[in-house]
Symmetry: D2
Subunit: 145 residues, 4 copies
């Protein structure tokens, strides 16, 4: 008896996320996956700080982009892979605290081009605070290895 | 005889760049600074890769954003610090090779808000290839510590 | 007995929207205003088309930006005015049909900088279709005339 | 003797620009076309103003986007048409004066996706002033009518 594809319809999304060396370096994990949705979490660590000691904005972008790309991938056909064409990131507040969470949602799934938002939150002593919003344009790459 | 402030008018720009723990983690260095201009360079290392083995897009953003922010800082009054309000990143090609370079230039320096572009290039066997363009909106923070 | 300020807490938002000559040229109206929210509507007319006969993308942006700016203004202190520092517009589908609607919502209201999203929809025979998403960075201008 | 296609290699770019009803409404003209470059100009007219009497930001975007799209089109194969997937617009200063100019340049021409910048300037008594920067992602649509 082998696992059927239905056992975890999002296994390839999890696999792709976990293949990202940078996510492992950040100790980031994919905590939720659904159709068109992903949540990823990472601890806030000093090695990834900026000049004032807060988490570097591009690390907020890294988690947000990875969540967004994999939210898009969850809706793509088997064998496809996802490529970020571009994104825009707005920052609301410095990222500090215990953990960073990115919650991504596909706003528009096209055959070739998808648009995804990712909201980022810090968690400090169990309290969430919104810190950033990313909007990304993702491309479906077919016949990917 | 001691060095005067004029010895290096951009010392505070270099200091700010080097205070970024994430830039040290990436082994990134500020290689040039001028009025409204910065160049930063980092080696392309496997620990910062994405799911296909290329450098993660957000690492391209990290170097580009840091170069852009410090290009803006180079034009700000003494005591000010720089804050990225938002940025947009376009990707042209996967980042692979030996090194990544980001060259930033202030397009518009305002009293409060500045706009900066950063072009990113990979270098492979001495050959540069453009891989990304960032446009960032930077805010001048006065009375900073 | 005179009208109190509470009679229409958003009168200045409506006034500002209606002072926009371009909105009058487009025959655009503000159809709803709330705290941090605006809806604006305009007919889709041939004079504002692009090369394939659809509504020009920048007209979608015009309605979206105006809704977004006035959503931000609804949360600003009396006497303040709103200035768009920058925006990003994603297009999902060509805009065609009877009417265009833009629904804007403030995502983050800061003292100086606010972030607002605006979703645009076309209406054809009473059926709404999402066509675009705008994310805008708005600045609070104090002491405005 | 008839005109050869070489007589004006950019005739289809000019034709496409001029087919935009909104550009005619704005009285906008394409003043220069080259490989990967376009310049467009329009008078600044009260009918397209915002709430403070300046030219509406989305009109700056309209001219910039049209110049950018047609700069991209100039590099596309015969029969292709251009579609804006998304753009980002930064504003530097209110647009006021006699004329608005948008100068667009392709930064990266891909088979499917191109990235184009457009700088906008106002002209007042013959003096140019930079007012905005647009970065757009354009898609090549093949087999277009």
């Amino acid at each position: 008896m082998t696992a059927t594809p239905d056992a975890d319809p999002f296994a390839r999304v999890r696999d792709s996320f976990d293949r990202q060396a940078f996510m492992r370096t950040l100790d980031a994990r994919l905590t939720q996956v659904g159709a068109g949705r992903c949540e990823a979490v990472m601890p806030i660590q000093p090695a990834f700080g900026q000049q004032h000691g807060f988490l570097h904005g591009a690390v907020v972008t890294a988690l947000s982009d990875s969540a967004a790309g994999h939210a898009a991938l969850s809706l793509m056909p088997p064998g496809a892979s996802v490529l970020a064409i571009e994104y825009k990131q707005n920052f609301f507040a410095p990222a500090t605290g215990d953990r960073l969470i990115a919650r991504a949602e596909v706003v528009r799934a096209g055959k070739t081009v998808s648009v995804v938002t990712a909201h980022a939150f810090t968690v400090t002593n169990g309290v969430e605070k919104p810190v950033a919003l990313l909007v990304a344009t993702m491309m479906t790459m077919r016949d990917a290895a």
